[in-house]
Subunit: 288 residues, 2 copies
């Protein structure tokens, strides 16, 4: 029974709140029954799980322990004290687990296949809750994946993993430094023959594709636009939106019409409304 | 200069994190420049504000201090130490203020008029971040107000006020114990003559109105529905949704089509997508 806050598992788990330690180990931490169950369902590689026999009880807990055993995941019992020392949620969960961060580039096929009609690209989203919600939105609306452009929160930050409700395990997650790198990633030049970008691997989305940008000043309402597919939907943060040079590079700029007086929507809510529009267009085009 | 964590203003501010103290005093607390500026803009009654002369600097800070002085708000200087003791955000803000919770029933006219085409009703939303985001959504999409139905987070909880980005000050906020109380509030029986409900005041929305419920099992897609106006859009929490008896009482049940594999959306994101649909219908009907 793990009890000491100095136990190596406890210390590893806690260290994974920092990007540096995630990069060094290639591991990430997840807290709570729902996330661990989602990881099992997604076929994630779990290194170990630790649960409190005292707190982690009931039929759903039993089911999860059973499926962890079936998947040969190393299981530890842990005291509530050590679990609280290890985890970050306000109400300490009954279980925590450590998993391997999946390879994302070159792309592993997503666990459930998934369409390639559209991608969600996020511009400088630093808030972990918003980033996680946006990954969840991409997953719900059938995006092939999410690209974090510029300085964003880290996909494997425990707060992002939690806000994504496990969707980080279901969609492809990529990073790009800026718009030029995004264009290379998405094979901008593949119209002219095989892709010769800096990465040396095939583009994740074969050109031609269109870049759709969220722009609160755009004349075109998002539900009146025609979305050509495949497309990359690019959204910015609520404080800053997208910079002018990025907007200028977009093929299509759409606005969420707001009759009310609120200055702006939460960035994840805005992304959800736009992602819904794009996914409906893709559905009507028979892409799902 | 306020410096002691035991100072009466510091203690009052801190106490307003609890619903009990908000009820006793009729006051609420707000943290940070944006919220205090929004309160001034909304014409909220501010009891006092306290700012750190050391940390609260720059042209935007100066503008806010100027408008607080113009509005004759009692201004205190406070040390960063006392400000940190008083506030709850991770990075302590440079300013905090205490305001009077506006009267919400019988309805004061909303500061900017606002339509009466639709209301947002929230079923048992206990998460303060989600409740605040939903108030912001209602404000952005021109709802006349928000009704919290059943046990919800409190509109004046500092976390709700923050997540609403100040929208709590712009829309009418009501509470109802359950569906019957919601129906009384909205004047269900006003078709038969003057309203005689338990409140003794006119209903906030004259009947007839339709109850639209978010229902992930509904056959009708939210963007293919016809929304009769005025309407009340009712959404539940992401964990539980709306109970069967509530769904059965709705005039219209709509689904957000999700081609992906995510189990559900964040409740605020779902509310945003539905609110957008209703507001577009209202706009097309010339209600804004």
């Amino acid at each position: 029974m793990i009890d000491s806050p100095q136990n190596q598992h406890v210390k590893l788990f806690r260290s994974l709140a920092e990007a540096k330690h995630r990069r060094e180990t290639g591991l990430f931490a997840m807290e709570g029954r729902r996330l661990v169950a989602e990881a099992v369902r997604a076929g994630a590689e779990l290194m170990w799980a630790a649960y409190s026999p005292e707190k982690f009880v009931g039929p759903e807990a039993d089911r999860l322990l059973h499926s962890l055993m079936q998947a040969n995941v190393e299981l530890h019992e842990i005291t509530p004290r050590a679990l609280a020392a290890m985890t970050h949620t306000e109400t300490p969960p009954g279980i925590g687990a450590v998993g391997r961060i999946p390879e994302t580039y070159p792309l592993a096929p997503s666990p459930r296949g998934g369409g390639s009609a559209w991608w969600l690209a996020l511009w400088q989203i630093r808030d972990p809750g918003n980033l996680g919600s946006m990954v969840r939105i991409a997953h719900a609306f059938g995006a092939a994946g999410v690209v974090a452009v510029g300085p964003c929160a880290d996909f494997w930050d425990p707060k992002v993993v939690r806000a994504s409700a496990g969707s980080v395990l279901w969609v492809s997650l990529l990073e790009a430094e800026g718009l030029p790198e995004l264009r290379v990633l998405f094979g901008e030049d593949s119209r002219d023959g095989p892709h010769n970008g800096t990465t040396g691997v095939p583009p994740v989305l074969p050109a031609p594709w269109v870049l759709v940008a969220a722009d609160m000043q755009a004349p075109l309402a998002c539900d009146e636009a025609e979305y050509a597919l495949p497309c990359v939907l690019l959204v910015g943060s609520e404080a800053h939106g997208l910079p002018e040079e990025v907007l200028a590079a977009a093929d299509l700029r759409v606005r969420i019409p707001m009759p009310g007086e609120a200055e702006s929507l939460n960035a994840a809510v805005a992304a959800g409304i736009l992602a819904f529009q794009v996914s409906r267009k893709a559905a009507r085009a028979g892409q799902f």
